[in-house]
């Protein structure tokens, strides 16, 4: 399954890279000029999102650096453990909305821990959780930052609700299948 999808993705990228300029050229578009014109925006967009990313990542950096993530996980674990969210996976759930690489690192730790590993309940639950939730804060900062939106309205609430649903569903599904 994995090789098939990876091959398909690779081919789709190739198809876009070759197909779009070729199609444009056939349709009489000045493809080189159009490309350069569009690409120019890439730089501006990246610069525009810097303040938004710095704001959220500095706040999250302070929060993690202080050990507040671990403290939060410690406070919550007596409640979440009996519900099917073991103490090993809880930090992942806390980190996930803020940092995708952070939660992936924690998942790697679970895989590498003797007695747990990728085929343990914790390993499987963590895998499902990582795959079914998103880095909500990163998504909001990048996308809103690119157009200068500072008032997100209900976007944060909806995003966190999606993450919480992903977490709950992961636990329910993992409990039903793997425990």
């Amino acid at each position: 399954m994995r090789p098939a999808i990876e091959i398909a993705s690779t081919w789709i990228v190739l198809l876009l890279l070759v197909g779009i300029p070729l199609y444009g050229w056939v349709r009489g578009v000045k493809v080189y000029e159009a490309f350069v014109e569009g690409a120019k925006e890439g730089f501006n967009v990246a610069v525009r999102i810097i303040p938004f990313l710095v704001a959220i990542l500095a706040a999250v950096g302070a929060f993690r650096g202080a050990g507040a993530m671990d403290a939060l996980a410690k406070v919550l674990s007596p409640i979440t453990g009996p519900l099917g969210l073991p103490a090993e996976v809880l930090p992942m759930a806390v980190v996930r909305p803020f940092s995708g690489s952070g939660s992936l690192g924690l998942l790697g730790n679970i895989f590498a821990t003797p007695g747990l590993g990728p085929d343990s309940y914790a390993g499987k639950l963590g895998s499902i959780l990582q795959g079914s939730t998103e880095t909500t804060f990163y998504v909001l900062s990048v996308y809103c930052g690119s157009v200068g939106i500072v008032r997100y309205r209900h976007a944060l609430a909806a995003g966190l609700m999606a993450d919480f649903t992903g977490l709950t569903a992961s636990v329910i599904i993992a409990r039903a299948l793997f425990r």
Partner: protein
């Protein structure tokens, strides 16, 4: 967002003080700030590449065609976006790239979509209903096959690296449904 921003710093300060390691709080913030710049700069290359290709597709009429083709699906979800608007094809491309796991293409398309949606925004600086719904869809992980997780499981010698595929898909569907419903319901309350 204002409250989240303050809360993170206050919680950090309290946790740092309790642990007696106040220095780590500042250091964490500085590291985070530097990381933000690195991330943004790192996006420039792929962003320029995809936005360049997108401009060719626009001029060749491809974007327009795409927008017309998916009109029936997007109309009920995004009633504020007119038929055939370029925002629709940008959103479609973003969602398709996300589903296929083409992360570096998804972000430029998503940004393009936000820009196009912002052209319809009567109140710049505040997100519109369409923008919030689009963001909500993006905060639910849309990837059909979680390739990174499967690869990590394989490298950790799992007996069944891809065994979590269907469970992940099930959980993703729940998250996506809740994302759309909550965006739609909250848009009436949160103005």
């Amino acid at each position: 967002m204002n409250i989240v921003f303050v809360l993170l710093f206050v919680a950090a300060a309290i946790a740092g003080a309790v642990k007696g390691d106040v220095k780590a709080v500042g250091q964490g913030a500085f590291d985070g700030a530097a990381q933000g710049v690195t991330l943004a700069i790192g996006l420039i290359g792929v962003m320029a590449l995809w936005l360049g290709l997108l401009r060719i597709a626009e001029k060749a009429g491809l974007v327009d065609k795409l927008a017309r083709a998916v009109r029936p699906v997007f109309r009920p979800l995004f009633p504020g976006v007119p038929d055939g608007h370029p925002a629709i094809s940008a959103m479609l491309l973003n969602i398709a790239a996300n589903m296929l796991g083409l992360g570096n293409a998804a972000t430029p398309f998503g940004i393009k979509a936000m820009e196009e949606l912002d052209k319809l925004n009567p109140t710049p600086g505040t997100a519109t209903n369409a923008q919030v719904l689009f963001l909500a869809i993006n905060t639910a992980s849309l990837q059909l096959v979680p390739t990174t997780v499967i690869a990590l499981r394989a490298s950790a010698h799992s007996n069944d690296p891809a065994g979590i595929l269907l469970p992940t898909l099930g959980s993703t569907c729940c998250a996506l449904t809740v994302a759309i419903i909550s965006a739609k319901l909250l848009e009436r309350v949160w103005r």
